[in-house]
């Protein structure tokens, strides 16, 4: 699948935003979120990331001005559900941000935080399911897809919260531990995901797609319909060399998991340089998650390519 930058930005940015929203909401529920400016900056950052992501996602729409219609088909469409969940999450999160901005202290913030956390999980789950539900792409059509989305959202969100807390001088060991655990879970999930897709050669063949060749035969394209690539080939025929992909996988695993885990570990046990360490971890993870998301698209093979030279999908 063609890795569109708008969609990479959307999923990584809003993923981190929802992760941050989730953790700060939980922290607030647990009474551990430092108050004052820090709380507001955190939720503002979360909402900003979410908004940048969502705006970015509309950039790949042909008619963004009609986007309102996208909330109508929540009964069947994960994309519609995601839209509904995203907008629904804005309500409690926005209110929470407003309350924290004006510094009011009311009991309702706990409820808003709870709703925000639920909304964040629901939205990211829907995002994952947009991809996870597509049977045309075996690399996406896995149970682990939404899990990885959730886990990476959680890990990147936790990292951001850790960065903020340390920048505000409110660093605490608990956030370090949460970040560490999130990163490990995400890393395990992602590695498991890669193992899973590598083990799946694809169940569909050119013979099935064309009905030609019979049992054990072969079907090879002679002439494509048109000389130059068409929409389907550009959008769904993107190919990344296996060697290139595995190098990128290693790099993204190092940047997204190895470096942050080490950095956070140090930060947990040597809180002195926490701010710098968390920042390093966050920057590495940011690059890593963008690469991971690029690979998520680039490595995805679409069944339609059976008509354009793929032998299995």
């Amino acid at each position: 699948m063609h890795p569109a930058y708008s969609v990479i930005v959307f999923t990584t940015s809003s993923g981190a935003g929802y992760g941050l929203l989730f953790w700060l909401s939980l922290a607030h529920l647990a009474g551990r979120l430092p108050g004052g400016a820090m709380a507001f900056v955190a939720i503002a950052l979360a909402l900003a990331l979410i908004t940048v992501g969502l705006l970015s996602s509309t950039m790949h729409l042909g008619h963004p001005e009609r986007a309102i219609g996208a909330f109508s088909q929540w009964r069947s469409s994960w994309l519609s559900r995601e839209g509904v969940a995203a907008v629904a999450t804005y309500a409690p999160a926005g209110l929470l941000a407003l309350i924290w901005l004006i510094g009011a202290d009311t009991g309702v913030t706990k409820l808003l935080a709870l709703l925000s956390a639920i909304g964040a999980v629901a939205t990211v789950y829907c995002t994952g399911m947009i991809y996870g539900s597509l049977r045309t792409i075996r690399q996406w059509n896995k149970g682990l897809t939404p899990v990885v989305y959730l886990a990476l959202s959680g890990a990147t969100g936790a990292l951001l919260l850790a960065v903020l807390m340390s920048l505000f001088g409110a660093s605490a060991q608990w956030i370090g531990v949460i970040t560490l655990v999130s990163l490990v879970i995400a890393g395990v999930a992602k590695l498991a995901y890669w193992r899973q897709i590598d083990a799946d050669p694809g169940q569909y063949t050119t013979a099935m797609a064309t009905g030609l060749g019979g049992q054990g035969g072969s079907v090879r394209p002679l002439d494509p319909p048109h000389t130059k690539p068409n929409f389907v080939m550009r959008e769904m025929g993107y190919q990344v060399a296996r060697k290139h992909a595995s190098r990128l996988r290693r790099l993204s695993a190092i940047a997204l998991f190895a470096v942050p885990i080490v950095a956070v570990l140090i930060a947990v046990f040597a809180p002195g340089g926490a701010a710098v360490l968390y920042l390093i971890a966050a920057l590495a993870a940011g690059w890593g998650v963008a690469t991971e998301r690029w690979l998520f698209f680039a490595e995805a093979e679409h069944v339609s390519q059976l008509y354009y030279g793929a032998t299995r999908a």
């Binding site: 009964r75 002679l222 319909p225 048109h226 000389t227 130059k228």
Partner: protein
């Protein structure tokens, strides 16, 4: 959630108006319904009532809109102001353009009309262009048939008075076995597609004989991936087997062919190999009934097919049948003998022969229908041998194509399958006489200043006495047509014109006048050489071809090389006449012709070429174009001519709706409302035959008489099939030293060898002359079906389908040279080399490489950008094909053509292949031609958006 159902307008208005005309996206000439919206062409579909396409349309026809609105269209007359090829023109008025052309042409006509060469490309108005050239008085006229179809036309017409090409069709309704030789997507495109669909559905067997398995061949039930140029060996082996198995239609041979005719056997005599004749000139047969000699023209059913007879003068004679059997039963035509050369296993040849025999004789088709033969014998039924065959370019484009084509016809005739139910059927006005009684004109004595030629240029010589020679016995035509180089060149040799003119061989010219022929690119052999010829200068720096006038509708590669451009219209803006005098659109059961008329008016300063030609004819004062007072005869241009011209009394360009009230056809008075009647009738006219006249028309009394009445036959005599061709033998006799017209010594051996009155196989010229161990591969081309004859690279839709060609090679060849798909290779011939990209495939003869022709374009032409795939990766094989053969004995270089007909031997090409490195661009890579006055092409097309906005 209940969904609100969107409202879909299921009955939108399709168009404001439908106008019916004739397609011109290729040579097929289907009827089309052109829908107009707001005065714009909005949709084109097939005309359901039309005899050719019966409603269907092809990929080209349905893309006509993009041709009509092509950015490569020329917009106004232009005069060249920069050097040739620079594309530097200035727009001029029509008056100025026509005055200039009149001045140039008038001067030549006053001095030596021969110094005008007038050649047309995919012209569908040859009866007009030929008439014009005849009245002008130059011998140098032809259309592009010499590099296209002449082997098929001549091979067929000399043999059975019809031809494959577009002059006949398999009997799709009854045939049970269809054999297709070579690429055939070029002519009769929709009729053949319809036919293939029909027979496949009916369960008839379809055998394709073609080195390449694409297009029609892909749906064949059996594909024979033959080696190019060896078809006559394969067909000879089939004939061998039929003779061996005694599976031939003897009755048919006796009735309709010259197989019982007696051939004089007197080697060394001046009439050796000619037919023994009686005092009336009738060929002799041995009549068993009469117990003596009889006439071969009366279909004597007791005539003997065998036996050596002693003629009244004491010499011996043998029947054609015996000579033929001897030829094909010879060991050289046994399946085993041909299997290696052809690549067709002997077992497969045997199987096909057995199937042919089985279908012809065990599965005959009988239609209970009374008819009377040419000799008055009544028949109560029609017996059909349901074997049909078709061939075109694949046979035609070899230098052994004439003989190969004749041999295929002999196979058909031995099976009794010409114009019978299930066989190959004539399209009227065919059959003609054999040999055809149309003779060529333009010998030296016939050329005088300001005098018309004595008759039409192109015809069918019956022997050396019909050649068009100068006083010294050399060629009198610039293309050397009807000379000893190509004696039976019934369509001329357009492929030789430019290079001969530049070499002044046989002589130089003053004006080259061409229409619709892309000679500076894909229509020439040796394209770089042709470009050099067009720009060659003499010692004074003047062009050796001093003046070039060119008419085309589009900015092709040839336009920049002309001095004066006469811009033509698109096919939807013009009048045309698809005449029975020219290349008719008849179907086997329908006599038909058709017109084009402007369904939209041009939005540019362009004029239909035919109207311009008629105007020029009047300005030059050509007889037939002005009246006695010198006033134009057809001031209304082409439509005026179409209605009011008469070739002979009552016979005009259009056969339908003649007579004052439009009720007559064929022969009848002029009808001023004729065009109106055509337009009302969908721009065509058709006349269905009496069912009694539907078959055996070469010898069908009712049909022959009807044909005379309607002006499409010249004699009431039957057409007798010439298995043995006497005109061919006459040339051979001349080469042996007989007669007063003698070939030059260098040509004797060649003529003796190739002018065999019985078809035989010989190695195609190029293969026989180059080192085939070096050039081990054959290279051939075909046009993609969606582009055949369509000028399609300027078409925004068609070029998306094929914007670049690759060289298709057999998987094993790819393995040998270590090439994978899209790798670059050098392809070399004795002429030059081309760099191109390969695609590996299984469905090609392993000794053959091929590509889609004419996809490669030159930068600057056709409104394409300089980075278009057509000019950067696309390539032409033309660069590898020499217009001349390598020098033979004596150093003379013959044209790379069939030695008999002069047909360009495109498919004789021999090549070698090797992997190439370097940058990914084709070579030779030509400098762009200048783009002249052309406006830049748009970067986006959203055709139809305006109609939707309007609807909303």
């Amino acid at each position: 959630m209940a969904q609100t159902k969107p409202i879909v307008e299921t009955s939108p208005k399709v168009s404001d108006e439908v106008r019916q005309t004739t397609c011109y996206m290729c040579a097929c000439r289907c009827g089309i319904d052109v829908h107009l919206r707001d005065g714009k062409v909005s949709y084109i579909e097939g005309n359901r009532n039309h005899p050719v396409n019966k409603g269907v349309i092809c990929g080209k026809g349905a893309s006509g809109i993009m041709q009509h609105y092509s950015p490569a269209r020329l917009r106004a007359p232009m005069k060249r102001v920069g050097p040739r090829g620079s594309g530097q023109f200035e727009e001029i008025s029509w008056d100025e353009a026509l005055e200039l052309a009149t001045e140039w042409l008038g001067k030549v006509r006053k001095t030596d009309p021969k110094r005008l060469a007038f050649f047309t490309g995919r012209d569908q108005s040859q009866s007009l262009t030929g008439l014009w050239a005849m009245k002008y008085g130059t011998p140098n006229f032809a259309a592009h048939g010499g590099f296209c179809s002449v082997n098929m036309a001549a091979g067929g017409l000399y043999t059975f008075g019809g031809a494959f090409w577009e002059f006949g069709d398999p009997d799709w309704d009854y045939t049970k076995y269809f054999m297709l030789f070579g690429v055939a997507e070029d002519h009769a495109s929709n009729p053949i597609k319809k036919g293939i669909g029909k027979i496949k559905k009916r369960g008839a067997k379809f055998v394709s004989v073609n080195p390449v398995r694409t297009g029609y061949n892909a749906v064949a039930d059996e594909w024979i991936g033959i080696r190019p140029g060896t078809d006559a060996l394969f067909v000879g082996a089939l004939i061998h087997e039929l003779f061996r198995m005694q599976q031939i239609d003897l009755d048919y041979l006796i009735r309709y062919t010259n197989s019982p005719w007696l051939v004089i056997q007197d080697p060394g005599a001046e009439d050796h190999g000619l037919f023994a004749r009686n005092d009336d000139g009738d060929p002799l047969v041995w009549s068993n009934e009469a117990g003596g000699f009889g006439s071969g023209k009366i279909s004597d059913l007791s005539a003997s097919l065998t036996g050596t007879r002693t003629l009244p003068d004491g010499r011996t004679a043998r029947t054609v049948f015996e000579l033929m059997a001897e030829r094909y039963l010879g060991d050289e035509y046994s399946p085993e003998a041909v299997e290696e050369r052809t690549g067709v296993p002997a077992t497969q040849i045997r199987k096909i022969a057995a199937e042919l025999a089985h279908v012809a004789f065990e599965e005959e088709v009988i239609i209970q229908r009374e008819w009377t033969d040419a000799w008055g014998r009544k028949h109560d039924k029609l017996i059909g041998r349901p074997i049909s065959m078709h061939a075109m370019r694949g046979i035609s484009a070899h230098s052994n194509g004439f003989q190969t084509c004749r041999m295929i016809h002999i196979l058909q005739i031995l099976l009794g399958s010409i114009d019978c139910p299930g066989g190959f059927r004539y399209k009227p006005p065919y059959p003609k006489q054999t040999p055809p009684n149309l003779l060529p004109h333009g010998a030296s004595g016939d050329i005088k200043p300001e005098m018309p030629l004595g008759g039409p240029h192109l015809g069918f010589p019956h022997g050396p006495h019909h050649l068009l020679l100068d006083e010294e016995g050399g060629p009198n035509r610039l293309d050397k047509g009807f000379s000893w180089d190509a004696p039976m060149s019934a369509h001329g040799l357009m492929h030789m014109v430019i290079n001969n003119a530049a070499e002044k061989d046989p002589y130089g010219i003053d004006v080259l006048f061409m229409y619709m022929a892309n000679m500076a690119w894909n229509s020439s052999m040796n394209t770089p050489g042709t470009i050099d010829a067009l720009t060659k200068t003499d010692e004074n720096g003047d062009y050796v071809i001093p003046k070039i006038i060119y008419s085309d509708a589009y900015y092709s590669e040839t336009v920049p090389f002309a001095d004066l451009i006469l811009p033509d219209t698109t096919y939807l803006e013009r009048y045309d006449c698809i005449s029975l005098l020219d290349r008719p659109i008849s179907e086997p059961e329908i006599l038909a012709d058709s017109i084009r008329y402007p369904v939209v008016e041009p939005d540019r300063d362009v004029r239909g070429f035919q109207t311009v030609l008629i105007d020029l004819g009047a300005r030059l004062g050509l007889p037939g174009f002005v009246d006695d007072a010198g006033a134009p005869l057809y001031p209304g241009g082409y439509p005026d001519y179409m209605v009011n011209h008469e070739r002979k009394p009552g016979v005009g360009p259009l056969a339908g709706f003649r007579g004052k009230d439009g009720t007559e056809y064929g022969v009848g008075d002029k009808n001023p409302d004729q065009l109106k009647r055509y337009i009302e009738n969908g721009s065509f006219w058709e006349q269905r035959f009496d069912p009694e006249h539907a078959y055996f028309r070469h010898a069908n009394r009712g049909y022959l008489d009807w044909g005379i009445k309607k002006g499409i036959r010249l004699t009431p005599d039957a057409t007798i099939f010439q298995l043995y061709s006497e005109p061919v033998q006459r040339f051979r006799l001349a080469a042996e030293g007989h007669g007063d017209r003698q070939p030059p010594d260098r040509a004797r051996e060649r003529i003796q060898k190739y002018f065999d009155p019985l078809p035989f196989w010989y190695e195609p010229m190029e293969g026989a002359m180059v080192d085939t161990s070096k050039f081990a591969l054959h290279a051939i081309t075909q046009r993609p079906m969606h582009m055949y004859h369509s000028w399609g690279s300027q078409n925004a839709w068609l070029r998306q389908i094929t914007a670049q060609n690759r060289l298709y090679i057999h998987t094993s060849v790819g393995e040998q040279i270590g090439a994978k798909d899209d790798d670059w290779v050098w392809l070399s011939s004795h002429q030059g080399r081309v760099k191109c990209q390969v695609k590996l495939m299984d469905g090609v003869n392993p000794h053959t490489v091929w590509t889609w022709n004419a996809i490669g374009k030159r930068r600057g032409a056709w409104g394409l950008s300089d980075d278009a795939p057509e000019s950067n990766q696309g390539f032409l094989l033309n660069h590898l094909i020499s217009e001349l053969l390598p020098a033979g004995g004596g150093g003379y270089r013959y044209s790379n053509s069939d030695p008999i007909t002069g047909q360009a031997a495109w498919f004789d090409l021999r090549v070698s292949i090797e992997k190439a490195d370097g940058d990914e661009k084709t070579e030779p890579f030509f400098e762009p031609v200048g783009t002249g006055m052309q406006e830049p092409s748009p970067t986006k097309v959203a055709f139809g958006a305006e109609f939707r906005r309007k609807a909303q």
